[in-house]
Amino acid sequence: MSTRIKIDPVTRIEGHLAIEAVIDDGVVKEARSAGTLFRGFEIILQGRDPRDANRLTQRICGVCPTAHATASALCIDDAFGLTDKIPDNARLIRCLILGSNFLQSHILHFYHLAALDYVDAAAVVGDLAPFVPRYEGDYRVSGEANAELVNHYVQALDIRRKCQEMLSIFGGKMPHSVGIVPGGVTERPTEDKIINFLWRLNEIRDFVDNTYIPDIIAVAKAYGDYFEIGQGCKRLLAYGGFDLPTGKLFKSGVVSPDLQLQPFAEENITEDLKHSWYADSDSGKNPAQGQTKPEPNKKQAYSFLKSPRYEGKVCELGPLARMVNNYVQGDSKVKELIDSTLAQLGAGADALFSVLGRHAARALEAKLVADAMVDWLQALKPDEPIIVENKIPETGEGAGLTEAPRGSVGHWITIKDKKTNRYQVITPTAWNASPKDDKDQPGAIEQAIIGTKVKDKDNPFELVRIVRAFDPCLACSVHLLDARAGKLGQFRVV
């Protein structure tokens, strides 16, 4: 049976992306992932006041703007020579703002983006848009257990909103907060704000511990086969993030498929462009030298995403990459969280490299961050400085690397005549959803899809569950095409 299937758009993710795959005998043989929106942020930033990048780059993403606020602030701090001078209060408040955003993003991702692939909402609310139309045939939780999950979908809408409200105490507003600026932060950590923040945090921690993590376990028990689906490239990269006065919460590193750790070095990142709609002349460069010259009609290209690689290798980024990196580096809290969860599920370490492994890592990471935030709050010193004075240098270079909810994010700036001469951003989804590179190695999501058995071509749950488990920051379209048939004109649209 030969069929080509297209899914475009894949909804319930942030943004615009397309994926194309070749299917042979019910198994995916080849996959293509393609970003379908280009805005040109890096071009727009050229010639502007370097400090403005901190405000403007947040607008790359309304779901995780604070990750860009953090990365751009670190990048500008670096270029301005301020990195070692940032006050402890500012480091802590930046982390509290970013941590709040992690919590809202992870909760939103599981309940409002991913859960409708597992939970039968229409059975509870009726055939009501936007809960129909949808794929049919593989909703395995029913009755009261299903009704409870739908109830948690609604409850989680309130909790994620409260994460944003908590963030605004130090961030000013969300989305697109204003609290993180080059040199530090703008809000003083007065005692009234600290306690206001703490009790909002406690309500969210209660939800993570007693609802979010148990719901992940419940879904995992009903969909156990998804511990074996969507394995991917198994090479896990984290730049490291949450720069606290005492060091980083997330460690940097590259973990190989056999769980060997290699130290991370920024200069080993390159961006390939062979299959991207950009000029080939800039292919293979480190982002500190990279350019963004769009060529939307380029042959061989199928995506507006570039192909970031580490020492030429494909990597997966995100909560799974961070948790495994910390695990391998001996973080006792992370080790306990992962070991106890795997024991509860009766699963081995290899189950982490899967659709459910990614969801579980994300939920456990939410707990890790939320619990740590209590300590960060208590480390604040109301009377001490929050910002260091700064001046735009005549020339300068800077890099800002941190962790976003979806994985590592990096910003690179070159300043000339006190203006931004070049600005480059690599988002985590650029890694995860990247197209093939110059050596034709498929990207991380492409690799996770390849080899997947698709049970029902009219309702290819497997593919959208794999894609969404990465929490991509783009809208996707997935195309399947049968290798043996080779008839591109004949395809079934789902």
Partner: protein, 291 residues
């Protein structure tokens, strides 16, 4: 008022929500609505006997692929003049719209531009949600690499006469959206009183500067010299003296905070000049500079 004379008959308002060159921040902001909450917007009668019906929203809808693109086609064909189109994000028009696609049908990309034009033509009214959609915003900032345009500009070029309500902001406050919906449900779309930039005066009628809690500092000449200082933020680039929005009164995120209260200059994010005319963000900009 260009809304006049458009009487609304239906009690259920189907909503098609398109995302163009944007960041989903407007959608996330609406998720932050407090009263009504997002679940009320999706599931409940907002006022007795009247409700929204969110037929298409890519970030929250269960379905995917061509069936959801069919929803767009079906709505355009069978609910002519009966649905509300919400557009979030600017409309990339370079290269025939190639820089933005919302999906595929019959093996062909459906561009953002094509969707906004087709669905806009048959809509009851269009809400341009957020500064990108209302005026072009950041994607249309110099050098505007993808030739991004506002909804109104695209409509004007194609002689589409569907009324446009602009709800700018980067992002807009959720109550500017729920409040606009509320005017439509309680009093009819024709009751929306818009300023000359297409914004409801109910939300964009007063200067930030008029209601700013740091106004007394301005009047006394007490200016912050660096971020983190007390005092008026004018010298640090605050754009509140030419920005029309009710942020100081309404405040953000359940009334907890807002930009100037948090020690940040107003970015002027609801104005058509944002971001080119409102930057450098941390530099003082006088009325002379704007001319």
């Amino acid at each position: 008022m260009y809304m006049k004379g458009r009487k609304v008959a239906t009690k259920e308002y189907p909503v098609i929500w398109l995302q163009g060159a944007g960041c989903t921040g407007c959608s996330v902001s609406i998720l932050n609505a407090v009263s009504p909450r997002i679940q009320n917007l999706l599931l409940d009668e907002l006022v007795p006997g009247q409700r929204l019906n969110m037929l298409f929203h890519a970030t929250i809808m269960a379905g995917q692929g061509e069936p959801v693109i069919e929803v767009l086609k079906d709505t355009e064909k069978n609910r002519k003049g009966g649905y509300v189109l919400v557009v979030e994000g600017a409309i990339p028009t370079a290269q025939g719209g190639a820089y933005g696609s919302i999906g595929e049908i019959d093996g062909r990309h459906v561009t953002v531009q094509q969707s906004v034009e087709e669905l806009g033509r048959s809509a009851l009214l269009t809400i341009a949600l957020g500064t990108c959609s209302a005026y072009g915003g950041i994607p249309a900032a110099k050098p505007n690499p993808t030739l991004c345009k506002s909804v109104k500009a695209v409509f004007d070029e194609k002689a589409i006469e569907t009324p446009v309500v602009n709800l700018p902001g980067c992002p807009p406050h959720p109550e500017w959206f729920t409040g606009t919906i509320s005017v439509i449900l309680f009093s009819g779309a024709e009751a929306l009183d818009l300023d000359n930039l297409g914004r409801p005066k109910l939300f964009y009628g007063q200067l930030i500067h008029e209601n700013c809690p740091r106004r007394a500092d301005f009047d006394k000449g007490k200016f912050a010299e660096k971020l983190g200082d007390a005092g008026c933020l004018y010298k640090l680039g605050c754009k509140g003296h030419y920005t029309y929005a009710d942020c100081p009164l309404r405040q953000w995120n359940n009334g907890l905070n807002w930009c100037v209260k948090a020690g940040s200059p107003c970015l002027g994010c609801v104005e058509p000049e944002f971001p080119d005319g409102t930057s450098p963000i941390y530099e003082k900009i006088t009325f002379e500079d704007l001319k």
